[in-house]
Symmetry: C2
Subunit: 489 residues, 2 copies
């Protein structure tokens, strides 16, 4: 994509000025319309050193309302990639619906750096796949993703570096890093071409702009954004019909093969529980030492015993190393972001454990059944969730997912017991009874979920739950086995 | 406080065991009651190396529901004190109402380190004052703050360090840092005594516990927390009558001396604006270079012209260095924290500028007038806000506060103009008209605000606002002057 760019493209000052006010005003209007329509946008600026990323960015926001955009310049250690997967920072810095996020350098910068400087046998596929997934997920959620690459020739870069160096006000901007990158211009050129090519997609197209003449680039950026925003708003007004993806629902019924009544002897339970809790603590320290992040997901019917199960799991663990995340309906800013946003926020740091009491699977359970998500949204979620977990797995995480399974009779018995116990009656609400009425629909959704999101690196464990003790032992045994498998012991 | 502790205090294993189940169960109950009553608690563990902070903490949480507490072990660079004031991290990690936060090491650790290792002429007052303010503010907001210091003798510490060092599983825990701190035991002892003494207060008492016998300390901690929680819950049930602090309201009327009609000639405006915007950009870079954080607060009547004013101020600034924070009614987690919490989250990093379009002053304006805050709450806020700003000032921040002042006629004219302008009519809501009915009460609240929170380091600038151009120039001039005063140019 770099080679087809006319680096000599230019615009006269007069021509630039004659259009600029109208373009700026139109951008301002569009910003307000996007805000009103709850459509957010993400704008990426990548490009060569001295190509003018900072300058175009300043010019772009000139006529925008500064309350509704923010600019990020991601740098280490703030990005935290030492402790988190590469996309963690970016997920955590997504705009709220209607707002605009602008990145000077983005998730592409580390990819390019790695391709130029990383080991020869670097996995080049994974970062590209991750990027495409990320941008497609945002786009599917209604975010406008626009990417600009500012292009100048090696000769032009050399000229600008020399000029900067000579200017006492700017000479600090030319360090060995810029010099080294300039020296490797051809290598960067090759890798950049490949990466732009591979990530130029409908969901998030690249616009490669010559910025030998900065004004030319500035004007193009405005025009492209105006075109993009107008097209989206037109689509929005028309009310785009969203197509649900193809997913094979109702094909497998893993729950039907499960007998929720399992027994364990009281004495055996006590002894085994103590052993497993001790072992869990030992393995927790190993995870910390080896910087392995661990995610445990608990899903299950109301009164299934998730809370009590979690308490037994963490009983002997060091509380400095785990976090239990109770998940309820989204609120505040959570409602104004992609549904995965809040879970990205809560994923564990390397070496730590996060236990989710309910999770992102709400998208294909409660949100599916209660129509909180539209059909195409929850059907799309199976793939999104698989991609999300694959990304965590690639970053070294162990992912454990438990469906705590009880039958309808057992739930009824527990509900009644709760109601009559003054210490537990607060746990019961009308909603619990209402949810119970949808028992069969729920089973179906669970079957689909287990079928469609059970993967090799993030398998579901169905925990027979009518007997809470049995369930706790099975959970702990699964955890211990999976950690032993993953850790270097 | 250290010297009066009986380091030989001990408890037999049998005695410990006989009480422990009941204590643990009671703590679990109290946790649920605090959650139901929306009372949060903050528990601090400080103490000597090897005194057993980690162990008591693990033991404490054993019988708590892990969904409703979290443990923090603040360490650099995560704490971010290179870029933010000392309390930033802790404000950002406060529990939601009803939840519990436990700190292993806390805001006291850096204070002690500085006193032992810092320069001889260290300011010892400011950190203590800051700490007392912080804990009192939390306590006033209903948070239970409990602080434990685990005490052992120098001899005992020496014994434990040797033992650890000899154990291959734990020897990594004894580094030069621990050895050096051991060597300086007496210095730490002296400083710790002084700090504990100075920060032992009703709002947040210290409990110094001998932990020669760890079980003794563990039991004491449970007992103290049970006592503390029970007392608070009893108070809560009784419905404690809160007393409003003494503040002199209605004493000063700064607005009465202001003539909102001021003029500026069109040509003068244009020229001056461009100059000031250029200068603002230059000064912004200086702030970045010199790592000076800047806060600008805009308050004013609806249609006062805040938004347009802000846009002119940032017009030429580098968008990578500023952030405009629009402030609306709190939502989600913001409603479940101290009202200052969300503003602590948004304070600028060293070298950056944060511009608040409305701010924490909502507490003494809209929250006062609409009864969103109780009388004692908004009256207390004057002091809290002064303390908040003093803390930012101490951390090097420049604080600019603008009251954009228009009169009632001007507002009416602007409301009508907005309603008839199709591009701006979306800005008008019924609420604007309702607020207008309270014009006089609002003026009174503003007079009190300006009178009670105008300080030398964070003065109010009343901006005569009937003429928007005049207002913009005055704001920019104030900004430029204040930055020039503060920066090393």
């Amino acid at each position: 994509m770099l080679n087809t760019v006319d680096l000599k493209a230019t615009i006269s000052k007069a021509d630039y000025k004659s259009e600029n006010d109208a373009l700026a005003e139109r951008l301002g209007q569009l910003q307000r319309e996007l805000l009103a329509a709850d459509i957010s946008s993400v704008i990426v600026f990548e490009g060569w050193d001295t190509a003018g990323k900072g300058a175009v960015l300043s010019e772009l926001v000139h006529d925008l309302d500064p309350r509704w955009f923010f600019v990020h310049v991601p740098r280490e250690p703030e990005m935290g990639t030492e402790f988190y997967p590469p996309m963690h920072f970016f997920w955590n810095h997504m705009p709220e619906f209607g707002e605009m996020a602008i990145y000077e350098q983005s998730w592409y910068t580390p990819i390019l750096e790695e391709r130029v400087h990383g080991p020869a046998r670097l996995d080049q596929e994974a970062p590209i796949a991750r990027t495409l997934n990320f941008e497609r997920q945002l786009s599917d959620d209604g975010v406008i993703v626009t990417k600009f690459f500012l292009h100048i020739s090696k000769k032009e870069q050399s000229r600008r570096l020399t000029e900067l160096k000579a200017d006492s006000a700017y000479s600090w901007r030319v360090t060995n890093i810029e010099r080294e990158r300039h020296r490797l211009y051809d290598d960067y050129h090759e890798e950049t071409s490949a990466v732009l090519e591979a990530t130029h997609c409908d969901a998030a197209p690249w616009h490669v702009l010559p910025s030998t003449d900065l004004r030319y680039a500035q004007q193009q950026i405005k025009k492209i954004l105006i075109r993009t925003f107008e097209a989206r708003l037109a689509e929005h007004k028309k009310g785009k019909k969203e197509k649900a993806p193809k997913v094979s629902l109702g094909k497998e019924k893993p729950l039907s093969r499960v007998e929720p009544n399992q027994k364990i002897q009281g004495k055996v339970y006590k002894k085994r529980l103590a052993e497993l809790q001790e072992e869990a603590r030992r393995l927790q320290y190993r995870c910390y030492e080896q910087r392995v992040p661990v995610l445990m997901v608990y899903e299950g019917q109301d009164a299934g015993g998730k809370g009590g199960n979690i308490r037994r799991v963490v009983r002997e663990m060091d509380p400095r190393g785990y976090d239990v995340v109770p998940v309820a309906a989204p609120r505040g800013a959570e409602k104004n972001h992609h549904y995965l946003w809040r879970f990205w926020r809560d994923i564990p740091k390397a070496g730590h454990i996060a236990i989710f009491d309910r999770s992102w699977y709400g998208r294909v359970l409660v949100e599916r059944l209660e129509d909180f998500a539209q059909k195409h949204e929850w059907q799309r979620a199976f793939q999104e969730i698989n991609e999300f977990e694959a990304e965590l797995h690639e970053a070294g995480a162990v992912i454990l997912k438990f469906w705590v399974h009880i039958d309808a009779d057992e739930q009824l018995a527990r509900f009644k017991a709760r109601e009559s116990d003054p210490l537990k009656s607060w746990k019961m609400t009308d909603e619990d009874w209402r949810n119970r009425e949808k028992w069969d629909a729920y089973q179906e959704a669970v079957n689909d979920m287990i079928h469609l999101t059970g993967t090799a690196h993030a398998p579901w464990t169905i925990v027979e739950g009518n007997n809470k003790r049995y369930a706790r032992i099975k959970t702990l045994e699964t955890i211990v086995a999976r950690l032993r498998e993953r850790l270097d012991l």
